[in-house]
């Protein structure tokens, strides 16, 4: 009995089917290549196909190539670059002022009790008033020129930046405060090496909301109170029934929004490289 069993070569195939319950991976898995472009590309394809098949009223929704041709005309005529420059300038000034104001106020309020008493309640009061409701008042104060538009955009931007940065600053782990005391850090170093790096994730949440807010504010301002800029161009086009021009304006807004949000994401990923989260 033993002879037969030892001479016969026993070939055990590696078992492919392992009998154990498979663990379902809870992380969303590997990212698809160019994942963020898939949805928009699909939408564009549907639009182009429907236009080519003649299923869309060209007066309401012109074909993508018509929009592109109109954009080309407007660009070579020189009106589109001027309008874009005007709009970008407004958004940039408003955003820059809002960013500085949000960060400075959050630091002043998050790092000193006096600052908190003076600033935090005031900002929250400001937040309770819908910013776009301030437009009539700001026009009275600053005139219908650039200043009031920039001021409104700055307010739309600073509120989320302030709120998120302040929340992050005041939420610093008390264990790290203790550590700073033990290591004998000066107040300045404590702020620079512990408070600010610890508050950066919150700041970036506010920054992304602020960037989106700056474009939102711009669109509203240029649609109702503009004498120049992209919104003005679209407003005029509405009067003349030029839906292709309106779509050019929307396209440019969309590109701005996408580019600026991607830029902030990129910076965020660089600065917060120590974080390992689901998205990495």
């Amino acid at each position: 009995m033993t002879a037969t069993t030892t001479t016969a070569p026993v070939v055990t195939e590696p078992r492919e089917r392992v009998r154990r319950p498979r663990r379902r991976s809870l992380s969303p898995g590997r990212r698809l290549p160019a994942a963020r472009l898939v949805g928009p590309a699909l939408l564009l394809a549907v639009w182009a196909a429907a236009s080519a098949a003649g299923r869309l009223d060209p007066g309401a929704i012109p074909a993508p190539w018509t929009v592109l041709r109109t954009a080309g005309h407007l660009w070579t005529a020189g009106t589109l670059p001027t309008d874009i420059a005007t709009s970008v300038e407004r958004a940039a000034y408003g955003f820059a002022i809002g960013l500085v104001a949000g960060v400075v106020l959050a630091l002043a309020s998050g790092l000193s009790r006096v600052g908190e008493a003076l600033i935090d309640g005031t900002v929250n009061l400001n937040r309770a008033i819908p910013t776009l409701g301030l437009i009539p008042l700001f026009i009275l104060w600053l005139g219908i020129g650039e200043a009031f538009k920039i001021a409104i955009i700055a307010i739309v931007v600073y509120v989320p930046i302030y709120l998120n940065t302040h929340a992050a600053l005041s939420g610093i782990d008390s264990r790290f405060v203790e550590l700073a005391e033990v290591q004998g850090l000066s107040r300045l170093r404590f702020v620079r090496q512990i408070v600010i790096p610890g508050a950066l994730p919150g700041f970036f949440v506010g920054l992304r909301l602020g960037v989106t807010g700056s474009w939102l504010g711009l669109v509203v301002l240029e649609q109702i109170n503009a004498t120049s800029g992209l919104g003005y161009m679209m407003f005029q086009a509405q009067n003349y029934g030029q839906s292709d021009v309106i779509l050019v304006g929307l396209l440019v807004y969309g590109v701005f929004g996408l580019v600026s949000d991607s830029a902030v994401r990129l910076i965020e990923r660089r600065v917060l490289s120590w974080r390992r989260t689901l998205s990495s």
Partner: protein, 243 residues
Amino acid sequence: MAPHTEQLTRPAARLRGLTRSFDGRTVLDGIDLDLPAGQFTALLGHSGSGKSTLLRAVAGLDHKVAGSGRLDAPERVSVVFQDSRLLPWRRVLDNVLLGLDGKDAERKGRQALAEVGLEGRERAWPSELSGGEAQRAALARSLVREPELLLADEPFGALDALTRIRMHGLLRELWKRHRPAVLLVTHDVDEAIVLADRVLVLEKGRIGLDLTIDRPHPRSYRDPLLGEYRERLLAALGVTEDQ
């Protein structure tokens, strides 16, 4: 570095009538204690007996706690916490160098990391370290400041049993090389016996037992002579073997 001879006579820390209370409940009730320079002391007690309160008082971390008494502590005091408390946004070496000045700092930091066996991990993020490695980095951070007094608040409490044994050896070795006075707070009687040359038991806000353990190092858990010390300490803590 060699221990200064004057340290052998001068106490690293001196507590006289130290009292601390929370909301009228007295936690430390007039503690008199000398921690001689270069001595390895362990502080045992039940949870809630006030051993952490005592350590935090010596570390100067009890700002809002009511209390009285006299406390002389040296200039250079380091603390190791139960959690490694590494800043997640600084690389390991930068964590070790936190609060350290001078052009020589980086060299000292690298040397400290090498001493705890983390050579080559200087550029790692804390989130990439295991629990034991993180705690070793925390040890390096406390040693790089060349403390006269090293306070450790259950530094191995969150580690697994195998890692803990290895960390015991490391701590003892580092102590032998640098000779700071050590106050190790723990609830683990065996840990205290294996590591310390003097074991204190905190009981009802006072030092209930002050035991010198005069056995050579390295010590084994199985050393039968240590059993006597264990029984005395357990008795002081109100635990008997048949319980």
